[in-house]
Symmetry: C2
Subunit: 160 residues, 2 copies
């Protein structure tokens, strides 16, 4: 942006941001072309495979507004990949639940996703770099309260 050389931290920020923008676009686009699943749908299915999830929680997880989550799940319900269930114990809540068709779609999409990530990104990493990236992401995520603490503050990746 004009000051790439002046500050290594800012340079690192910009390089990472630019790369991830293009990578998410590329991997997401390829995914949709090959499997028919938009990236957001894949993300939802991946989460719901682990556990049924309240709409609010899903919105937070996806970094989406409440209304956005409602509409996303609505579209996926229309497509038969998820259903909504209202628990009798608290009828204010709505849980999104994956269907058999949703599980099947995810099963088909998952290997494609893994292959794409490796092909477009993972295979270029050198030894130790994955661990460094994980350590950085967990440290910063934890500082923002977005992820649980890194395992033991320093045993994840010496990076050398």
């Amino acid at each position: 942006m004009g000051l790439e050389g002046s500050d290594p931290r800012w340079h690192a920020w910009y390089a990472q941001a630019a790369l991830h923008t293009r990578l998410l676009e590329k991997v997401g686009g390829e995914m949709e072309r090959r499997t028919g699943l938009p990236a957001a749908w894949f993300e939802v299915l991946g989460h719901l495979m682990k556990c049924d999830t309240r709409m609010n929680e899903l919105a937070d997880h996806l970094v989406l507004s409440r209304g956005g989550a409602t509409r996303l799940v609505a579209r996926m319900e229309e497509a038969g990949l998820v259903t909504r269930e209202i628990p009798p114990t608290d009828r204010r809540a709505t849980f999104a639940v994956i269907t058999d068709a949703g599980r099947k779609a995810l099963e088909e999409a998952l290997p494609v996703h893994l292959e794409l990530v490796e092909e477009e990104w993972g295979r270029y990493l050198e030894p130790g770099e994955a661990e460094t990236l994980i350590a950085v992401a967990e440290r910063i995520g934890a500082a923002h309260g977005w992820v649980r603490e890194p395992e033991a503050e320093g045993d994840a990746a010496p990076a050398a």
Copy 2:
């Protein structure tokens, strides 16, 4: 997504992607709150500060469709931050050009941006990590043809 532990590369991918989604949202949101400039506008001004740019080129740089770039620049023109200029030598092209008001807006926004990036992200990096991140991003970006070659294939960051 359910397989965090199985493959360190995929884990690294996911951790980075999740972090950057939240970070871009946070930094972008704060930027707009404090300076009135949406992240995309800031990005455009930062690029146009370097040189006048054809619409197509701008679209590629921003990872945006052609139509998207047209409309983005139209809004910014309406706000007085850029103008469009058609060169007499090839009247098919349109160059986006930053205005004095645009320069002023960027000047005001830049320190806020730098502070936010440092505050939310940079200050958590440990010595050598910025250089590792730059090396990774440039290596992968170059493999995709998105950036010029990394300087000398290995002198950028020993990471230790």
